[in-house]
């Protein structure tokens, strides 16, 4: 029951918002309240979750298209619990940001944000392939509209590119999943037998590799991340990207084990390329959003590296990194949004010296920046360490590349922080650009507090993602 509530509560709220002619304030408050209620429901679920039990928990199953053996089957595992948590927390922060900033056409906007929340939760809990696909597409629709209507000046081109890339991937995934479903006789993920087809694997992987994204399928990333409103970019980078890597884990690796090992080296190479390439481009990006965007590309590569290492440490590290990076990237994009609101730009050439007189902004941006570069002691470091230790067990050179990326991360992130906060005051930084206000602090500080808590106890996530903490066995046993 809880899982269904988590999906449909925000969607129902979205419909209410779209239908009833509420005022701007009422709409926004309703949206924020529903988001916070979602967080509450998820916390309840997390407390009641039994981390030592194998198999799906909190599951519901109902008939949908019985002739094709397609059912409404939802439920959570350990790792999906954390991803759902990431989704509801990030969406709560971003919806609140939208409320704080004030967007035109509030009913449309908040309805879309709520719908996005429900659809994304659906992606992480769906246990039937067609249901998964439905939620996957449903997740994209509000994004197209949010980017296309409320975005920056280049939003139309960005939206078209985003649409073409993701639609292409989705179509291939649809073909792959139909092939899988017809061959296995059922579309259910829990019951369905593993498949040996490499084409099906490639179909699924292409969609996930575009979504994550990984090099070289990331052509939609820079423009979309730059043009979308800051809270939408935060959602894209923090949550939606993780849907891609979740798909890799739940569907591609679990259901197609033989093609996974066949293509393992290729995918590890692509992931390592994303890691290095993303870091290099972040090092040269001229704007704050660009740096964090390419950093997201690099982190997606790192997570994929962990997933495809096929080792216990790799899987645990990947899940931890998904949560940790999701939180920090949301916080960073929201902070970038606050900078843009005050100075109309995030171009480094025009910024600088914002730390003086703005202690809250400086502290938060610095904290998030250094956590993002995985300073030892942080949750991101713990995730990165586990991933690289895991992939080292596969072959030492992947870990060596990862270690090199550690240095690159230090270079690009410190460059970005210094360009905004330090040195001479930029031309657009005026006296009117004040420090962070209570409203903004109330959304960003919880994210940072969560990160610091996770940094003190990363085992909270990494040890509790797979029943008995033997992920290799869990994956092999199809999580049953």
């Amino acid at each position: 029951m809880i899982t269904t509530v988590l999906i449909w509560l925000p969607i129902a709220a979205a419909i209410v918002v779209w239908v009833l002619p509420l005022s701007r304030y009422a709409t926004g408050s309703l949206a924020v309240l529903v988001s916070l209620a979602e967080v509450g429901v998820w916390i309840e679920q997390a407390f009641r979750f039994d981390f030592s039990k194998h198999g799906l928990q909190f599951s519901q199953r109902g008939g949908w298209i019985n002739d094709l053996h397609v059912s409404y089957h939802v439920g959570v595992y350990g790792f999906s619990l954390w991803l759902v948590g990431l989704t509801v927390i990030a969406m709560a922060a971003c919806t609140s940001y939208g409320f704080w900033v004030g967007r035109d056409r509030p009913r449309a906007y908040f309805g879309l944000m709520l719908f996005l929340t429900g659809a994304t939760v659906g992606v992480f809990v769906a246990q039937d392939l067609l249901l998964f696909y439905a939620f996957f597409e449903a997740m994209l629709i509000p994004l197209y509209i949010l980017v296309g209507v409320w975005g920056g000046p280049g939003r139309l081109g960005a939206t078209i590119k985003f649409f073409i890339y993701t639609a292409a991937g989705s179509l291939l995934m649809l073909a792959a999943l139909i092939a899988y479903g017809l061959h296995a006789g059922t579309f259910d993920l829990v019951d369905g037998a593993p498949s040996f087809s490499r084409w099906i694997f490639l179909g699924f992987m292409l969609a996930f590799v575009i979504k994550a994204p990984l090099f070289p399928f990331h052509g939609w990333l820079p423009e979309t991340y730059r043009e979308a409103p800051p809270e939408v970019t935060a959602v894209l980078s923090g949550v939606i990207a993780k849907a891609g890597t979740y798909g890799m884990l739940r569907i591609a690796i679990t259901k197609l084990p033989e093609p996974t090992s066949y293509y393992r080296t290729l995918i590890l190479a692509l992931a390592a390329a994303a890691l290095v390439y993303g870091s290099l481009l972040a090092f040269r990006a001229p704007d704050l959003r660009g740096v964090v965007a390419y950093s997201s590309l690099a982190q997606s590569g790192l997570i994929a590296l962990g997933l495809f290492s096929g080792t216990n440490l790799g899987y645990d590290g990947a899940v931890l990194q998904m949560v940790a990076h999701g939180l920090v990237s949301t916080a960073l994009f929201l902070l970038a949004g606050t900078v843009e609101r005050r100075t109309t730009t995030d171009q480094f050439a025009l910024l600088g010296g914002m730390a003086k007189g703005r202690p809250a902004l400086a502290t938060l941006l610095m904290t998030c920046g250094i956590i993002s570069l995985a300073v030892p002691g942080s949750a991101n470091f713990a995730g990165e360490f586990l991933i690289l230790a895991g992939v080292f067990q596969r072959a030492w050179w992947w870990a060596a590349i990862g270690a090199g990326a550690i240095v690159l991360a230090a270079m690009y992130m410190l460059r970005a922080i210094s360009a905004v906060l330090h040195q001479a005051r930029g031309s657009v930084v005026t006296e009117e650009a004040l420090d962070l206000r209570l409203g903004e602090l109330s959304l960003i500080v919880p994210l940072v507090a969560g990160l610091l808590f996770l940094s003190a106890w990363p085992a909270g996530v990494s040890h509790h993602s797979f029943a008995g903490d033997q992920p290799v066995q869990s994956v092999k046993g199809q999580f049953r």
Binding site: P376, V407, L414, H422
Partner: protein, 625 residues
């Protein structure tokens, strides 16, 4: 006693949190007192652990774990502290000297706009350093390692309106990150081969690993140590780090952070002993650095840079000692060095403060009259640095040279290098002393006239002066060595590094003689001004450019990285990836345009196609039949 260790670790962190969350509600000097108190509470905790350990008498130290920090599959790392002779010694040094320096900062940083941020960072640093030395396993050590790098970045770039400070901070962090990366690789190797990162597991398994494996592990650890301790070839960040406030230089870049590399070698000596070649490379690196830094220090004109190169050189001694296997001697020199180097920096800080920020020694002549106490403190520190008896440096430095003498033929080479270094030390140290405090020809520089400084600044200087004199009296090998005995369970000196009495005597006498010779030459050149400095153009230029390392690294690493990044951005990203989407769209459009040309609108075309199509179909049907 583990309670003491936990108190020691978390008190400074509490200090940081209080200052950060309090923000503007805490008065500026209030922040200073909060920070100082937190560090002294840490010192109390360290003392509690120390005495507890002495009473306990446990040989191998005690691990106390709070909770499981990280866990993946069968691999487990706890948030734990390790109380043993080596860690308690470091805890005392870090919190003790640290507390004195933070106290000094209250006076030094008085009036700065961002005082609270400074003290928050200082407490954070002390916490990080304590995590490093107290951490109960290698991963926590790495965590502390990275966090001291972070604190160093925050403090070097404290005056962040200055572009040079920001650049120096970034450089320090990136070079340290490189060391972090090599250490991480070493830890990965250990995980693959032993499944655990606890000290007990790593050290007991080290002799059992294959030679290549343990060599790589040691090499990775050495990479981290070299980066953190600013030894050749990863030393270029330390002089730039002098952009930070002087107490920062005293604490981080003299007394504690840069000595972490020596601590690491002592702590993981089991691994290094299994990879003896790497250990000797460490010793050689130390010797090379001590000579190189000593030479560069001869031409520096910034007071802090001279002391920075001196630090680099002295850490070379510590690496030399630890590398040949005389861990206790290396740690002893670490302790005395913390006293006299912090003293020298703080005394320099008084001079800089008095001259309102002037750091060029050419403008500092004849300060002895304006700053008498400082002059004596500086003299005490200098004599300790050169290693003349009965000052502390004599006892610690000479035992290292003696240990090296005993260790095969290469040890003798290292010892000779160390002795040459002793001469250089005397020369550059007293060059500095005579220029700044000696008799001057012209009028004395204009000071701000507030005397030598508030009590909060003079008290720590006084305490450290005393320690610089008597701190070495705790050990006078081979007659009396309680420190070596104390450290024996944790880091037993290797047999090859235990010198004979004769070697001790030779080392001591030679070092003292050479040190006095250095002082003498300095007196001749800078004190009495009897001779002028010899002009060796090429050498002078090489030294002034610090042997061109900065230029080399810029060409080897930074420029290629930036070039590859630019290339990626221009050609791959903009040329290929970003264009791929629009290119697909363009292709679709072109195809459509091509097909569109069939629709001519002319009747005859359509009839023609109709006719030919039918004819073709007819023929096909007939043939198929």
């Amino acid at each position: 006693m583990t309670a003491g260790a936990w108190l020691c670790l978390f008190a400074p962190l509490a200090g940081t949190l209080v200052i950060t969350l309090g923000g503007a509600r805490i008065p500026r000097d209030g922040a200073g007192w909060i920070s100082t108190t937190s560090v002294f509470v840490a010192f109390a905790g360290a003392a509690w652990s120390f005495f507890g350990l002495r009473a306990h008498g446990s040989e191998n130290g005690v691990v106390s774990t709070a909770w499981t920090w990280l866990q993946g599959g069968n691999f487990k790392v706890g948030l734990s502290v390790f109380v043993d002779p080596l860690s308690t010694m470091m805890m005392l040094i870090v919190s003790g000297v640290g507390g004195l320096i933070v106290l000094y900062s209250i006076g030094y940083m008085d009036g700065d706009d961002e005082e609270r941020r400074y003290f928050a960072y200082m407490s954070l640093f002390v916490f990080s350093m304590l995590l490093l030395v107290e951490g109960g396993n290698l991963l926590l050590l790495l965590a502390g390692w990275g966090m001291v790098g972070l604190s160093s970045y925050l403090l070097i770039g404290f005056w962040h309106e200055r572009e040079s400070a920001v650049a120096a901070a970034k450089k320090a962090f990136v070079m340290n990150a490189f060391g972090d990366a090599t250490m991480a690789l070493a830890l990965f190797i250990l995980i693959v081969h032993t499944g655990s990162l606890s000290f007990a597991s790593a050290f007991s398994n080290a002799p059992l690993l294959s030679s290549t494996t343990v060599n790589f592990v040691a090499l990775g650890l050495l990479g981290g140590a070299v980066a953190k301790s600013a030894q050749f070839p990863l030393h270029t960040w330390l002089p730039d780090a002098m952009e930070g406030p002087t107490p920062v230089s005293a604490l981080i870049h003299a007394a504690t952070m840069v000595t972490a590399g020596v601590y690491l070698i002592a702590r993981t000596h089991a691994i290094f002993e299994a990879a003896r070649t790497i250990e000797l490379i460490a010793a050689g690196t130390g010797a090379l650095t001590l000579l190189m830094a000593g030479l560069i220090a001869l031409v520096q004109t910034d007071i802090k840079r001279v002391i920075a190169y001196s630090t680099m050189s002295q850490i070379g001694y510590m690496f030399l000692g630890a590398g040949v296997g005389a861990y206790a001697n290396g740690m002893f020199h670490l302790m005395t060095h913390a006293f006299f180097k912090a003293l020298l920096f703080m005394a320099a800080g008084i001079v800089i403060h008095a001259l309102s920020g002037e750091q060029d020694i050419r403008k500092m002549r004849g300060m002895a009259q304006a700053l008498p106490w400082t002059r004596w403190a500086f003299l005490a520190g200098s004599l300790a640095l050169v290693g003349l008896p009965p000052f502390s440096g004599f006892f610690s430095k000479d035992s290292i040279i003696a240990a090296a003498l005993h260790d095969h033929w290469y040890g003798v080479i290292l010892a000779v290098a160390a002795l040459a270094g002793a001469f250089l030390t005397g020369l550059y140290t007293f060059r500095l002393y005579f220029i700044v405090f000696g008799r001057s020809d012209g009028p004395a520089p204009h000071t701000h006239g507030h005397g030598e400084g508030p009590r909060t600044m003079l008290l720590p200087v006084g305490i450290l002066s005393v320690l610089a004199v008597i701190g070495g009296w705790i050990q006078f090998s081979p007659f009396w060595h309680p420190l070596t005995n104390w450290l024996e369970p944790a880091a037993r000196t290797l047999g090859v590094a235990e010198p004979t009495n004769a070697q001790e005597a030779i080392a001591s006498i030679a070092a003292v003689v050479l040190g006095l010779a250095g002082i003498g030459v300095a007196w001749a050149l800078y004190g009495a001004r009897r001779r002028s400095v010899p002009r060796l153009q090429l050498l002078q230029r090489a030294l002034e450019h610090k042997f061109y390392f900065d230029e080399l690294y810029d060409a080897l690493f930074y420029k290629p990285a930036a070039a590859i990044a630019n290339l990626s951005r221009r050609d791959v990203e903009e040329g290929f990836v970003l264009a791929a989407g629009p290119d697909i769209g363009e292709t679709a459009f072109d195809a459509g345009r091509g097909v569109r040309r069939l629709q001519t609108g002319l009747l005859r075309t359509y009839v023609f196609f109709l006719g030919t199509g039918m004819a073709v179909l007819a023929i096909v049907f007939l043939l198929a039949k």
